[in-house]
Symmetry: C2
Subunit: 282 residues, 2 copies
């Protein structure tokens, strides 16, 4: 496995591979790898001749009072895990190379960036769209793999790629969970044991909602009332949002017809967690 840090070097490697007809798979990450990341890498490994994983904690997607400075980092461990997973290039650009002095170009996916996490984190998806487009232009992948835990991110990126005609296939892959159901996240490391137990209210609420829909409940408001009840009844938690949305437009759904996505964000102690679930009414 090669470690590349210069954006121009990365682009040159990618252009060389393309000249040789290699299919490039790409997994962008902020590092601190868990099985969720590794599942994306394994999928990319299967789908591409070459696999690039980027590791970049992107300042542009953090708000001024968010956890940029304490976001967990473990480069040596990540390097070992990436190597063991068959990554060809671990791409670790420096912030000063990604956003040099005078940097001023941003990509906005307007409507899809507004609801859900966009309402709680102004500017977040502008930062995400911008860095992902930059990374795509540096890595020049045929295929890019994202986790469905950041469901709104996946929808925003798919829309950006379609709107800007970016020649990359974007694939979303299922959420990977701990044995007790907590969605894997680098931020889970912030939780103390008591908070870790409280955090299970998210998957408890989501599976309850999934079961209610599967049993024929079509009214989003009824399901949401129960979801909110489960989360707010749990110690140490504070609900940020719970919404049933159209899987493509992210607009609130009142009556579930076929499939909808339930998206939830909640604070557990000082840690903000997100999770989501497909609701299907049969």
């Amino acid at each position: 496995m090669e470690i590349v840090s210069d954006p121009q070097d990365m682009q040159a490697v990618a252009l060389d591979w393309r000249k040789l007809g290699r299919r490039i798979a790409f997994v962008p990450t902020m590092g601190y790898f868990h099985d969720g990341h590794l599942s994306l890498m394994r999928y990319g490994r299967e789908q591409g001749d070459r696999l690039v994983v980027s590791l970049f904690v992107n300042p542009a997607q953090f708000g001024p009072h968010e956890d940029l400075d304490r976001y967990p980092r473990a480069l040596e461990r990540d390097r070992t895990l990436a190597q063991e997973t068959g990554v060809d290039v671990l791409y670790v650009p420096a912030t000063t190379d990604m956003y040099p002095p005078g940097y001023q170009t941003y990509v906005t996916v307007e409507e899809l960036s507004q609801p859900l996490c966009g309402a709680s984190r102004p500017g977040h998806f502008r930062g995400v769209a911008t860095v992902v487009l930059k990374l795509f232009n540096q890595v020049l992948p045929h295929l890019a793999v994202f986790g469905e835990k950041d469901y709104q991110q996946l929808v925003v990126i798919k829309r950006m790629v379609a709107d800007l005609n970016v020649p990359v296939e974007v694939v979303g892959r299922p959420i990977v969970r701990e044995a007790d159901g907590l969605a894997m996240s680098s931020r889970n490391t912030y939780l103390n044991p008591e908070e870790r137990r409280s955090a299970l209210c998210l998957i408890k609420a989501l599976t309850h909602a999934r079961d209610r829909a599967a049993a024929g409940e079509t009214e989003a408001n009824r399901i949401l009332a129960e979801v909110k009840q489960i989360i707010t009844a749990t110690p140490l938690t504070r609900l940020d949002y719970a919404m049933v949305v159209d899987p493509d437009t992210l607009q609130a759904v009142e009556t579930i017809r076929g499939a909808a996505r339930l998206a939830v964000a909640a604070w557990v102690g000082g840690t903000r967690l997100i999770d989501n679930m497909l609701l299907e009414v049969n």
Copy 2:
């Protein structure tokens, strides 16, 4: 010469050429070709194995009260001229394919879009940056050629390409002028004979400024006072702006050291014209 209108077809043609190792040159235009356009095409023809010219009057870069609807069009003539100039593909996408329902992604080059034409035409450079990035992703050129008449546009696009790591080389080419000095523009067709004579105040003011700088005048304000005097003393004209700016940052320059760019916009009758000139103090 082939005419392509579907964005996916265009991208497929470009990907095929790239697989064969062809170097793609690209000239984006809004059509109604004049010698300015043709000079860019001839340059592209020399520099690339394949030459694509796009013809798209981009609604996203026109304000609500601007001349989108009456912008001059002459597709058959343009087609003949492109063919005669050795264009391989004339790419003429439909507005509904460029901006289908639900379209919502925009690229903003923040500081560079503010002054000069950006102040008179809010949103203009957002529309320009967005459509150029889309066209780059559709045509996948190695090299893209722009005229220096739209000087701010060139600077904005160079910045976007650098900031977003777009793998395209952007080249600016000199302004092509009529025999009497008027910068060629598709909008010159709006001018009646009297306005056409008045429009010469722009090149008169610019050459005066160039000569004053060449003779050692370094104070931008003195030069600008004379430039404004020449333009406002001309019948039928109304000055929009005249500024001496840094060639890269577009920030106003007080004292010219080495080189600066004088940029001018003026209304002549109902037609807004722009022009610019390199000022060099020796």
